[in-house]
């Protein structure tokens, strides 16, 4: 029938897929590894054989999700020629991707604590955050942004977008009647993304030379 390598790859992929589903739905600590295995049609032993631990499977799921986000960001940026527009398009794509509940819970909420902040940051840097720092460096090189160390700036912007993405995907209106002044009826979904992008655009404008 199937060769051993094929079977192995298939099982691995199936575990990864089911793991992603369950981790996204119930959160890392709400998931029992044996359930993932059962839903996949194998036993816990298979999961340990492939990934070594529950955290190991989760790490692989995180990596996959981050790659996907990075792909969307890069794809969005490609559609523009002007570096500044590329940055904005990439940011928007990141916010949209991060708003996807499946992506979000895994990469933004559980990722840092389960894997540890340092490891998570390294993975983030290897995928989507890299695009951000590269874009910033390019803009500094062309003089579109005032010269400055990129690392603090990358951290600030990356954090800003991470948090904003989580906020964007929140179930509905938190609306603690704090600032409902501007828009009486709740702005859901796209509108909030636009509002966030508008604010981000302003912040980024501050980086341009006067």
């Amino acid at each position: 029938m199937a060769s051993r390598a094929e079977q192995r790859a298939e099982t691995r992929r199936a575990l990864l897929l089911e793991g992603r589903r369950q981790f996204a739905r119930d959160g890392y600590h709400g998931v029992v590894l044996e359930e993932i295995a059962r839903a996949t049609g194998v036993t816990k032993g298979a999961a340990y054989h492939h990934f070594g631990s529950k955290a190991g499977l989760f790490r692989a799921v995180v990596a996959e999700a981050q790659q996907e986000v990075a792909g969307r960001v890069a794809g969005a940026a490609e559609g523009h020629d002007d570096p500044w527009e590329q940055l904005l398009a990439g940011c928007r794509a990141f916010l949209a991707a991060g708003s996807d509940p499946e992506i979000q819970r895994i990469t933004l909420v559980d990722g840092p604590t389960v894997l540890g902040w340092n490891e998570w940051r390294a993975m983030d840097e290897a995928s989507s955050a890299r695009h951000l720092s590269e874009a910033l460096e390019a803009l500094i090189a062309t003089g579109a942004i005032v010269p400055q160390p990129v690392e603090p700036l990358t951290r600030l912007l990356s954090g800003a977008m991470n948090e904003a993405a989580v906020w964007l995907a929140r179930p509905s209106a938190t609306a603690t009647a704090t600032a409902a002044a501007t828009a009486p009826d709740d702005a859901s979904g796209e509108t909030r993304l636009d509002a966030t992008m508008a604010a981000l655009r302003l912040l980024l404008d501050g980086l341009r030379p006067r």
Copy 2:
């Protein structure tokens, strides 16, 4: 000897203190509740009597730490008269407070996942994030910042500072040789705070009307 209310308060405070120490040092999932109790001089039963669950104790610790941060932020802001300077001083105080490893691990890293992002955000809003949104509203009211909905902006800035604070307290130079171009020798501690504040200042400048 001690009245029952006094004894109760004393035990509660002792558990809170020891809990904070251990949660900060080993992280939420690295801590066993029985150890906290043992170090406090009581048993696990006492902890459950006071806080209901391990997460309950952690929640109380988080609340306390957040109050402390809010206090430092408000204190720093009070030292200035100009609202814009108040904002900057508050931001700097937040970054400094968040860089404290004890504060950080509890409020910024473990908080969101253990308590859930929604509950964590509500607690954050009730303490330090509230100062931020109030300051932004005040600046909009006086015309120092262009009119806009404050919530997206608050989320962006809050996230930016959270992430930056975690980055600032990182053990040492991560230095993946990515952007070591600008500063050859590593800038540790205060210098990184200054660099972060400089970048944040630029970003905030973008909010002022042209």
